[in-house]
């Protein structure tokens, strides 16, 4: 075992005929990690494997240097988990619930209660902490779920779709909370999401999954810089004809929304204007592409078209 945060070694998880994860091998160091992929890509399965709630069909895992299958309790003492779905206890007050989950995580009663107050204040539920959870809004429920995940001060938090069901303002606030905790240091996060923009500027490492298969994993900066620089073009006119003409000139082109992304040999933009001249298209914009995790995911998914989420 290594001293890394997470390690999976050829992990495959199969449910009857469905392969939720396929031969996944990654190693991630402490930090804030984006676990990114569309619905059905195996994100929740991976989180449950990391918690020891599921056993891999084959392969092995390590969380904070421990095997979740062999030492599930030691792993779970070190991990806070925020599930995606609503799983709260509606008959309890916010503070009662968080303190209770702290005690079930092994905190003594007084400590659990004082920490519950502290984390509920942090997540912005100080005023509502004595209200029953059944009276909470969706945003408040998400916050109390985050609070229960951090109440026992775990060095690793697994957050499964923390912005699920939130309006834009609530989403920003939730991501702000995660960012604040992340900046504090000493605690790692795995942020599982299918909303790629959620990870931008927040995570320092990323694990991209599609249809249970690994697209890429590692530090965001390295992954983004490792890709060939692209140029973004917006065209008015015969776009398919423009793309075909560029391809004939040996320029690698892909379409993303209303934009074309091209890889220009040695940055020479002349082929673009030549093609524009030939096809009568107007170049409305031309500039370097600002790479994002979303771009990276889309380009990797395009390169592996056989990996279609079930």
């Amino acid at each position: 075992m290594t001293d890394g945060l997470l390690r999976t070694d050829s992990v495959t998880k199969r449910f009857d005929t469905v392969e939720a994860l396929s031969n996944l091998s990654v190693e991630l160091s402490p930090g804030t990690i984006g676990l990114v992929g569309p619905n059905g890509s195996g994100k929740t399965t991976l989180l449950r494997l990391l918690l020891g709630l599921l056993a891999p069909t084959s392969g092995s895992l390590s969380v904070l240097g421990r095997d979740p299958q062999r030492e599930p309790l030691l792993v779970r003492e070190q991990v806070g988990y925020m599930p995606e779905h609503d799983c709260l206890m509606p008959d309890l007050s916010g503070v009662g619930f968080v303190a209770y989950m702290g005690r079930v995580s092994g905190l003594p009663r007084e400590t659990a209660m004082s920490r519950a107050h502290e984390v509920l204040e942090f997540v912005g539920l100080k005023e509502q902490r004595y209200r029953k959870i059944r009276e909470y809004s969706v945003g408040m429920r998400q916050r109390v779920k985050l609070a229960q995940a951090i109440v026992h001060d775990p060095p690793l938090c697994l957050l499964d779709e923390p912005t699920s069901g939130l309006d834009p303002e609530g989403r920003e606030e939730m991501l702000g909370l995660v960012a604040a905790l992340s900046r504090l240091g000493g605690r790692s996060f795995v942020l599982s999401t299918h909303l790629l923009p959620d990870t931008e500027g927040l995570v320092d490492q990323v694990l991209l999954l599609n249809a249970g298969k690994l697209l890429a994993a590692g530090p965001v900066a390295r992954l983004l810089s490792s890709r060939t620089p692209e140029t973004v073009i917006r065209i008015r006119g015969d776009v398919p004809g423009f793309v075909a003409a560029l391809s004939r000139k040996g320029v690698e082109t892909r379409t993303q929304g209303s934009e074309l992304r091209v890889v220009l040999p040695s940055g020479d933009t002349r082929p673009i204007f030549e093609v524009a001249n030939e096809t009568g298209g107007q170049v409305r914009y031309l500039g370097p592409s600002v790479r994002t995790i979303e771009d990276l995911f889309l380009s990797l998914a395009e390169e592996a078209p056989d990996q279609v989420a079930p």
Partner: protein
């Protein structure tokens, strides 16, 4: 919203062990079931059994005929098993069903506890309520008898043993049954109806089938019949029941254990299905 993240001012604390965590769950579950309905039924049980026991013993003491069988009076009709059935439904039906229904089972199992700890905690909470309802009233009645001097202490002690034995047997059976049926649904109401349905169906069906087929062993399928048979035997009475008390006791105990194991198996499947 707070402008700073929690820093947990206190120094790192020593974590509690698995038993303490399970007891935390059991304590919450016990409190959660202490609603008006449960308290009313348990109070009714105390009043009924204590009154019947003390009144009957007081009359017997006047004629000097107090024996172990005198204490059996509260168990001489199916009223007692029915009260246990109501208590089991009230405290046990929602034990697992509600956690599966609101999916808090996921939170429990993501904590540093095992499924067996969780199930033991739920069983302990349900079982404690049943012990309070099944054993407590008899002991309370005997305490009154002892204080008033209506029976010798040795006889009262023997009677207490009989109440404890039959009460624990009822507790094991009904706890297991309630957990098993609670694990099959996501609603306490459905589980409660199922508990009643199963017990009453067996109470009606077993003697009927036994009578039609002439196979007396079918009568063991009726838990109420088994409980009354065991209770009468414990108090030294040869009852009118067709079942052997020892066999009935074994059937009840094994059924309870089987149901509890089934609940465990079922809950281990729920997590996988939930995926």
């Amino acid at each position: 919203m707070s402008i700073s993240a929690p820093r947990y001012g206190a120094a790192p604390v020593a974590k509690t062990g698995r038993i303490h965590r399970a007891l935390t769950i059991a304590h919450r579950e016990f409190n959660r079931r202490s609603g008006v309905g449960t308290v009313a039924v348990v109070t009714l049980t105390y009043l009924a059994i204590t009154l019947v026991l003390t009144i009957n013993t007081s009359f017997a003491s006047l004629t000097g005929t107090v024996t172990l069988a005198t204490f059996e009076t509260p168990y001489s009709s199916p009223a007692w098993p029915f009260l246990m059935l109501i208590v089991a439904t009230s405290v046990g039906a929602g034990g697992l069903a509600e956690d599966v229904g609101n999916r808090s089972i996921t939170l429990y199992l993501s904590r540093p506890i095992r499924l067996i700890d969780y199930l033991a905690a739920k069983s302990a909470a349900t079982g404690t309520w049943l012990v309070i309802a099944a054993v407590g009233p008899g002991l309370a009645g005997l305490a009154v008898v002892l204080v008033l001097g209506w029976a010798p202490s040795s006889l009262v002690l023997t009677g207490a043993g009989a109440f404890v034995a039959t009460g624990l047997l009822a507790c094991i059976f009904f706890t297991g049954l309630a957990l098993a049926l609670s694990s099959l649904t996501t609603r306490a109401l459905y589980a409660g109806v199922a508990i009643f349905g199963v017990v009453l169906s067996l109470e009606i069906g077993a003697p009927l089938v036994s009578g039609i087929t002439g196979n007396t062993s079918v009568a063991y399928a009726s838990p109420i019949n088994d409980l009354l048979s065991v209770a009468q035997s414990a108090f030294g009475i040869s009852g009118p029941y067709a079942t052997d008390p020892a066999t009935s006791a074994v059937v009840l105990a094994l059924s309870g254990v089987f149901f509890a194991v089934f609940a465990g198996w079922r809950m281990s499947r729920v997590e996988v299905v939930g995926e």
